[in-house]
Amino acid sequence: MRLRELPRTTSFRLALFFLLLFGGASVTLFGVLYVQMQGFLVARTDEWLLRERVDLSRFSPEELRTRLQARALVDPSLERAMAIFDPAGRRLDGTALPAPATIPAWDTPFDFAVALNGKREQYRGIARRLETGDTLLIAQGLHETDEFNEALVRAMLIGGILTVVLGLGGAVFVGVGAVRRLDAVTLAIRKIVAGDLSNRLPTRGTSDDVDRLVHVVNGMLEEIDRLMREVKGVCDNIAHDLRTPLTRLLGGLERVRRHDPPKEAYGLAVDDAITETKGILKTFAALLRISEVEDGARRSGFVSVDLAAIVQDAVDFYEPLADEKQLALSLSGQPVSLPLMGDASLLFEAVGNLLDNAIKFTPPGGHVRVELFVSAAGRGVSVADDGPGIPPAEREAVLRRFYRTEKSRSTPGSGLGLSLVAGIAGLHGMALTLADNDPGCRITLAKMPDA
């Protein structure tokens, strides 16, 4: 983990951002508190000053001096001072407080400083001119207020330092965690890019946001892996399956070239070549069709269709073929209509392929049962036969392009039918399931509720 990468991580920056935000909010809060507190203390002092001034104004100058003398005896502290000064500023009576340098206004509270025991002390006081020409000063020391202010500022500072330290620490912690995690993910991605497609991104198992993202990416990798394997399989199969007809085609053409046969034989050879080529083209067309279906572009043309009517049509279409093979083809199921968003031709093609397979692989005298169903678990159609069935081990495989079961190799077919059905089912959000029908096979196309 490189420390200089830390400031670049999103989580670190986010943590810093919140630290700033929180710090700003705290400073504002403390500032407001400070100002309010200050105002409150001044107001309280002023209230006392004014009250005392009014109280003392009731007395005559003589009475006042007596009171002040008494007060100075009772309360010699300079915290709350009351004194009378002559116009020269000499103290006549009261608390031993020096006179302020200037008096800015009469009968209005004002701040002033005096030197006491060699120290400058702040006071707030009110002055009144007496009839005798002397000055009455009532003053409150601001010492307490200042101490309170200092304590407040100290608390603010300590709190601020604590916030910054904790915030920075948290940001580093979060940032380091994120960097470590990203490093792990990056390493895994590098490995995958290098070709190890079976590798997956690490998760923490906490299902937090990053974990959820990692899960999605892992799902995507799973799908890519599957597709890659499928593409490889398809390429192998295409090469394999097309080599046979191409070899036959080439063989036939070379033979006719070598032998230089009469005109009719030429014609027959050309016919054979045409048939062979058409077969190859047909395989290609089927392949193209599967990819066209799978790429999902067709969904734009989806309209509301009735699966029940389509299945009915498909059963009607295949009935003569079943008759010819002496198979009993039946359609059952409750739903009269099974509306869904889809493409009627594709759905017909899918059901047709299933019927075609069932009819092809079921021996004469057998049954092919088509059933429409609507249940809590979903709605759709199933095609069941009592033919040889598909061995459980091969059920996955039959959906692959070109795959043909051992037993079916003697029957004509491209091995593409079920891949196409699977593609069409996928396009319609339907699940294709293969199951045992004891004997035979049951293939179900079902749309899950709200799927």
């Binding site: 045409i274 083209l281 047909k282 067309a285 089927a286 069709r289 066209e292 572009a297 067709r298 734009s300 043309g301 049509d313 009607d316 279409f317 295949y318 003569p320 073929l321 010819e324 493409d343 009627a344 031709s345 594709l346 017909f348 093609e349 047709g352 075609d356």
Partner: protein, 227 residues
Amino acid sequence: MTRMLVVEDDTITAQELRAALEDHGFEVDHAQDGKAGLLKAAAGGYDAIILDRMLPGELDGLGVLSTLRAVGVEVPVLIVSALSAVDERVRGLKAGGDDYLVKPVEFVELTARVEALLRRRTAPTRVSRLQVGDLELDLITHRVTRAGRALDLLPREYELLEYLMRQAGQVVTRTMLFEQVWKYHYPESSNVIDVHISKLRRKIDPEGASPMIQTIRGAGYILNAAS
């Protein structure tokens, strides 16, 4: 002589289309792009137009088609396209196309469909019965008789026969039958249509008679009056 206009930008495909249509006995004219195609088609004198869906330049197949229809040219148009999606087909037909074929085009399919288009144009629109030899089909009562004897047909068989009779004397491909009668559009490749046809044959042909519906190898079917 029947005159065709082929609008196709690919030279080789155009040559192949031209050869196939000329072999079939049509006189063929060719336009390389949408603009030339539109000018030629608007000038008139064609019985049908084979129009490529995707053309280079600003005017593609659908543009040519909708312009033609907008100016009132009603000549039948067969769209040939590499785009096989169903909504492409629907768009083509909506723009005024009469039929839609997906490339690569089989020439039997092409000529059969062109013939069907030409026939649709020349056929009287209001008929109440069809007749081919001693086979008669009443479009109103849905009664079908062969030499006066009533035939018992299932609804699909009736539709199959009606289409074959409308195209009597012309080759009809399996795909055309599938699209016309079952109304689904995809490259149907099973032999189920053949089974339907042989069932229909057994119903309309009396014992021992040569079948009215003949199979054309590698192409489709043709309905002819019994000889």
